[in-house]
């Protein structure tokens, strides 16, 4: 390789440099360049919002274009206009509100049951190696059993009424939740426990006043994720022997090939999920304002 000065190091001509410098002196802050593709760097808030809305707009636009140009069978992918009309029908439909109510109650029951048992058990598993040894491998094993495969067994065990649906949602979320809660508990710095002991705390007090409190923001975030999954398993549960509910209605529409209505309900499920997610985040920020997320 020839020995010569690398071109990158050649000095810029002087004139533009001084020009830029004088410009910077006149307006110091405004010329800071936004780095759009820097790793984990923030971008302006307005641009983030534009992108968020733009994502939705782009998908709807693509959908409209595809369905109007008849690249796809309109029976399966109806036009946005047809779905909008179906949505207005659905809002007037007497079935919508009972469906919503029933589904919401099922999800809530299954989810609350999972949280009520899962959070204390997860904290125990994350705190004591004895419980971890006893329950962690077992939980990991059960977690990999596909929930839909359990439907026949659950129908035999819990009947075809509400109980079997609630239990299905419970099974789908509980085992995930326990593992996540245990992980969050284990993430509490050991020094925090040690310092509590040296301040005079007993083991029970460390668990009650420190361990649990420190893990709480993470546990709450785990609950947010699990609530999302609960809605997924709701639809699975309602595909079997239901007379009401959002999932049941989707199945019924598909039997009659009423695709616009299916799409309405799918969008509705998405909106519910997104709404609950936002709600969880808001409550989290309110309850655990002290938490230093340290994320970027």
């Amino acid at each position: 390789m020839a020995i010569s000065a690398p071109k990158d190091l050649a000095l810029e001509p002087e004139a533009p440099l001084t020009q830029a410098a004088s410009q910077a002196a006149r307006a110091p802050a405004t010329h800071e360049r936004t780095r759009w593709f820097e790793l984990r760097r923030d971008i302006p808030v307005w641009s983030y919002r534009v992108l968020a809305v733009g994502g939705f707009v782009a998908v709807v636009a693509l959908w409209a274009w595809l369905s109007h140009r008849s690249f796809v069978n309109p029976v399966f992918v109806p036009t946005p206009g047809a779905v909008w009309a179906a949505a207005r029908d659905a809002l007037a439909d007497e079935n919508l509100w009972p469906d919503l109510k029933t589904s919401f109650l099922r999800v809530s029951a299954g989810f609350l049951l999972a949280a009520l048992v899962g959070v204390p058990l997860g904290i125990l598993m994350g705190s004591f190696k004895v419980f971890e040894g006893l329950l962690q491998p077992l939980t990991e094993f059960v977690r990999y059993i596909p929930v839909p495969a359990l439907i026949p067994i659950f129908m035999v065990l819990f009947g075809i009424d509400e109980l079997s649906k609630i239990m299905l949602i419970w099974v789908g979320t509980f085992f995930q939740l326990v593992l996540m809660v245990a992980d969050e508990t284990r993430r509490v710095p050991y020094e925090l426990l040690q310092v509590s002991y040296t301040l005079g705390a007993r083991r029970r007090e460390v668990l009650r006043l420190v361990m649990w409190r420190a893990a709480m923001p993470g546990i709450f975030d785990a609950l947010r994720l699990c609530n999302g999954w609960a809605w997924t398993y709701l639809v699975v549960a309602e595909l079997v022997a239901a007379n009401e509910g959002l999932g049941y209605r989707v199945l019924k529409f598909s039997r009659f090939l009423q695709t616009p209505k299916i799409w309405v309900y799918l969008v509705l499920l998405g909106v519910i999920g997104l709404g609950l997610d936002v709600l969880f985040r808001l409550v989290n920020r309110q309850l655990f304002h002290w938490a230093d997320t340290g994320r970027r």
Binding site: E191, Y197, L199, G200, R202, W290
Partner: protein, 283 residues
């Protein structure tokens, strides 16, 4: 108050058999003293502190506090860690008075009214220059402020001895010096017995009345140095520039780095560090 270590030792079970962390160590600390354990990383000085705190069990030997054997952690041996250990969900004031809630301390305090504990927490925070930050949460504080709260929190309990495990190790040089001044002030004002761990020679001399020098792993005490620079409230930063200070620093440095005066050791080290292939091209 008297803290006494008798043949205290600790070995950990490693992958390849048992690893000695602390060789049998004996010393005692008088009331009101500021004793520093000085030594290289991994020499067992932190292990000694953990054993005294009762957070680890000794392999053999024992720790006696006022003649009573230490069997576990307790509030009469307060501890400050190198990592930040404030409770993030409590503000500065609630962190400082945390120990007042605990059942064991309520039993121990007996006559001391809760109001008196709050008063003490408040005056400690004032001493630490944190009066205006009582309502702030830990995430809003700088590293130095967090450590000051941690010290105040440990002292609220009126511990018989304050154990400090490289408490300023994570701080920048300037904050570190501020904390050293504060430590001297605190020691003079509170008359607390302090057992301090550091690997910073200057910090050790500036703060302590006595220094115990540890050898490299497995740790044992190789020297017991009385520091002749007066009481805590007589020491000023200029002390660090005095010839006596520098001389003591040199002595301790030589104790910690035996053989470092010869360049042979460094040459051998360089030989190992530098890529041998590169060396053969440019002899």
């Amino acid at each position: 108050m008297k803290l006494e270590l008798r043949q205290l030792a600790k070995t950990y079970a490693g992958k390849s058999g048992r690893v000695p962390a602390l060789m049998p160590t004996s010393f005692s600390v008088e009331d009101g003293a500021f004793v520093t354990l000085l030594g290289p990383s991994g020499c067992g000085k932190s292990t000694a502190l953990q054993l005294i705190a009762g957070l680890e069990e000794p392999t053999c030997g024992e720790v006696l506090l006022d003649g009573a054997k230490v069997t576990g952690p307790g509030a009469e041996r307060g501890m400050v860690f190198q990592s930040y250990t404030l409770f993030p969900w409590l503000n500065v004031f609630d962190n400082t008075r945390f120990s007042a809630h605990l059942g064991r301390n309520r039993a121990r305090a007996g006559t001391e009214q809760p109001a008196a504990v709050l008063e003490r927490a408040r005056s400690l925070l004032e001493l630490m220059g944190l009066k205006d930050f009582e309502r702030a949460y830990p995430r809003e504080l700088s590293g130095g402020m967090k450590q000051r709260v941690a010290i105040a929190r440990a002292l609220t309990n009126r511990p018989k001895v304050l154990l400090m495990d490289e408490p300023f190790g994570a701080l920048d040089a300037q904050t570190r010096e501020e904390m050293q001044e504060l430590m001297l002030l605190l020691h003079a004002y509170e008359a607390t017995t302090v057992l301090f761990v550091t690997h910073d020679v200057e910090e050790a001399i500036y703060l302590s009345s006595r220094i115990l020098v540890f050898s490299a792993r497995p740790g044992r005490i190789i020297s017991d140095v009385a520091v002749p620079f007066g009481a805590s409230d007589e020491r000023r930063p200029e002390l660090k520039l005095s010839p006596e200070f520098t001389e003591l620093k040199r002595e301790l440095f030589n104790l910690l780095h035996p053989g470092s005066r010869s360049h042979e050791g460094r040459g051998a080290l360089l030989d190992r560090l530098v890529n041998p292939k590169l060396r053969s091209v440019h002899p």
